[in-house]
């Protein structure tokens, strides 16, 4: 085919080839392998490659899977809610109330200058039985014996992740706030709104895209997080990824692990789509 690179289609294909190859190798291929594994089964010595729904049936019927899946989604939801709720005022402050925007944005990224593991361990030190929090409360006499509900539970997981994710929520919300033409705010005031009404009727609906972006960025990876729950979650705070890790590791049941991954992906996808649809619809209802 002489001159194929001269046609528009040819050029397009040629230009997108490296990206397609990259995506193909790094995303599509592993996913295909994962799907294949999920239909196989693990015998004691080898993988049985006859196709079967067995793993899916096990995932659907095992109460542990259901319990962990639900808990993962709830914890991720709580993390998302907490992070976005805390990030919004910070983003608002940077966008509207300070001249030193760059400085503040820089300060917000400072936690990233240290490793995530280090930050999780810091929370362990803060929340632990002999940790900073308990020591402080004990010395001030606020409590008589160390609090035990601080660490190794869902609360610790939510707190640690909300702290870790903060910049990921602040930045998209900040961008959407920053984009708002100040004339819209003045127009709302001019038409009789006080500050609060103006926030709910103009600022908030205009930042819905930022809120959605922030929520997805946080929610999706959080459902699959396993480092945080295993370090600060205790048995109460275990999540679905911990179970997957067991299947791929100690239990050596890759097919079931693959099935769990796919089920988790599908659940996250469904929840995320539902969230986007509902939030967008809610945003539209504000008039």
């Amino acid at each position: 085919m002489p001159g194929v690179l001269k046609t528009e289609t040819g050029k397009g294909l040629a230009l997108s080839a490296p990206a397609s190859l990259y995506v193909g190798l790094l995303v599509a291929a592993p996913l295909a392998i994962l799907v294949a594994y999920s239909f196989w089964t693990q015998t004691y010595v080898a993988i049985d490659k006859t196709l079967t729904w067995a793993n899916y049936i096990e995932a659907a019927t095992d109460p542990l899977v259901r319990h962990l899946m639900l808990r993962s989604i709830l914890i991720a939801g709580a993390v998302t809610l907490a992070t976005v709720a805390l990030a919004y005022p910070i983003a608002y402050f940077i966008a509207f109330r300070t001249q030193k925007k760059t400085l503040w944005l820089l300060l917000i990224t400072i936690p990233f200058w240290s490793s995530y593991l280090l930050r999780v361990f810091s929370w362990k030190l803060i929340l632990g039985f002999n940790g900073v929090m308990n020591s402080a409360l004990l010395t001030t006499g606020a409590i008589d014996e160390p609090l035990t509900f601080l660490l190794y539970n869902e609360f610790a997981v939510v707190l640690t992740l909300a702290h870790a994710w903060a910049p990921f929520a602040i930045l998209p919300i900040y961008v959407s706030l920053q984009k708002i033409d100040r004339a819209y705010l003045e127009a709302a005031t001019d038409l009789g709104c006080n500050r609060l009404e103006r926030f709910f009727r103009v600022t908030l609906p205009l930042t819905v895209p930022g809120i959605i972006a922030a929520s997805l960025i946080i929610f999706i990876p959080t459902v699959g997080d396993y480092v945080t729950p295993s370090l600060v979650g205790g048995s109460q705070g275990k999540m679905i990824a911990n179970l997957m890790q067991v299947q791929f590791g100690a239990a050596n049941n890759w097919p079931l692990g693959a099935t769990l991954s796919l089920v988790a992906m599908a659940s996250v996808g469904a929840v995320a789509i539902g969230f986007v649809v509902i939030t967008t619809a809610l945003g539209r209802r504000i008039r």
């Binding site: 819209y184 003045e186 709302a188 005031t189 038409l191 009789g192």
Partner: protein, 367 residues
């Protein structure tokens, strides 16, 4: 206060740091008038308008609307509404909801809101466009929505910050007429900021001309054109030839002056001028000079010169005349009656002027 006045501004000053954006602003606006604030970029027009709207506090002086002092009344409680330069149409709402935005606070029934929105949209000729999205509107339509959204509130005063500057020339001229018609129909006081002299003149009952934060003159458009108070105002509104003159005698509202190039003339004393002196500045509008190859009959002053430039404008032809004893060329505008350009560069021509065309601009030292 007089009950003829809807807005009374006295001694208002606004500073940004050490920079004074508006100083000693005194202005009374009458009920139902179309008032324009005209001035070059950065002279403080928007700042003045925003102080009336309540978006900016004044450092000195007082502003009252309809007899009520606005000092402690926030922007959202003032009986004035604004049309923003960028229109500020809420992008998350459709046209109907944009117009209904302010109404939703008034505790009206749904049906009532609907009627008033439809009525307002009808007024700006956008009837039936309620469900159109904000980003599907043309520039002219956005301008109309902004107008409807403010008018639907039935304000006592409508404030407009360069409402037409984003539109192309034809649309702008059509909207000028339409807004004027609407204003007269509704009888609401319009306060418009503009830097376009023609816009100000065609639309307004009165114009306030501002320079560097100060109001130089407030008058009807025709008075502003005929009796500008100084050189600055004279050159900002319309074209003007400036000439030096000496007062040789005065009395009875008239004065005899010796005008550079034209000689002895008798002109009216301009009541808007603050300071007179024997050394005067006078002005003549380009269209009020007569030009001819022969000396024209029946004029009070004459001058002979040479055409240095010809500019064809379509509806008129502008000649620039250089004459002995004048520092600058004189502009002469001749209506294009017969599709002819009568004089060419280098031609020797006569100019004639009537006494009544010469405008007294006051002492030369105080320009």
């Amino acid at each position: 206060m007089s009950d003829q006045n809807i807005i009374e501004i006295s001694g208002v000053e606004k500073r940004f740091g050490t920079f004074t954006a508006v100083s000693d602003l005194n202005l009374d606006l009458k009920k139902g008038e179309f008032f324009s604030l005209l001035g070059p970029s950065g002279c403080g027009k928007t700042t003045a308008l925003r102080m009336i709207a309540g978006f900016q506090d004044n450092d000195k002086g007082s502003i009252s609307i309809d007899g009520q002092d606005m000092a402690d009344i926030p922007a959202n409680k003032r009986p004035a509404n604004m049309v923003f330069q960028s229109y500020a149409i809420f992008p998350h709402l459709n046209v109907g909801d944009n117009v209904a935005f302010g109404l939703r606070k008034l505790g009206l029934s749904k049906a009532e809101i609907k009627t008033r929105v439809a009525e307002a949209l009808g007024m700006v000729e956008l009837g039936g466009l309620e469900t159109r999205k904000a980003d599907e509107l043309s520039g002219g339509q956005r301008q109309r929505v902004a107008l409807a959204r403010a008018l639907v509130m039935r304000p006592k005063v409508l404030l407009l910050d360069e409402p037409l500057s984003a539109l192309d020339k034809n649309l702008r001229e059509a909207m000028q007429l339409e807004m004027r018609r609407l204003q007269q129909k509704l009888g609401i006081t319009f306060v418009m900021v503009t830097h376009d002299q023609y816009e100000a003149m065609t639309m307004s009952d009165r114009i306030g001309v501002m320079f560097a934060g100060k109001l130089a003159q407030v008058d009807r458009p025709d008075v502003l054109y005929a009796r500008p108070c100084n050189r600055q105002v004279a050159s900002f509104i319309g074209g003007m030839n400036f000439l030096q003159a000496r007062m040789v005698g005065d009395g009875g509202g008239q004065m005899d002056v010796d005008v550079q190039g034209f000689g002895k003339l008798t002109i009216g004393v301009n009541p808007n001028v603050e300071i007179h002196d024997t050394d005067l500045l006078v002005g003549v509008r380009p269209e009020q000079l007569e030009i001819g190859a022969e000396k024209p009959d029946g004029y009070d002053g004459y001058l002979q010169g040479e055409v240095s430039d010809v500019a064809f404008y379509g509806e008129s032809v502008h000649y620039h005349i250089r004459a002995a004893g004048l520092d600058e060329t004189l502009a002469v505008a001749v209506p294009n009656y017969f599709h002819t350009v009568d004089h060419q560069r280098g031609d020797t021509v006569w100019l004639g002027v009537q006494n009544a065309s010469v405008i007294d601009l006051g002492a030369r030292e105080h320009q």
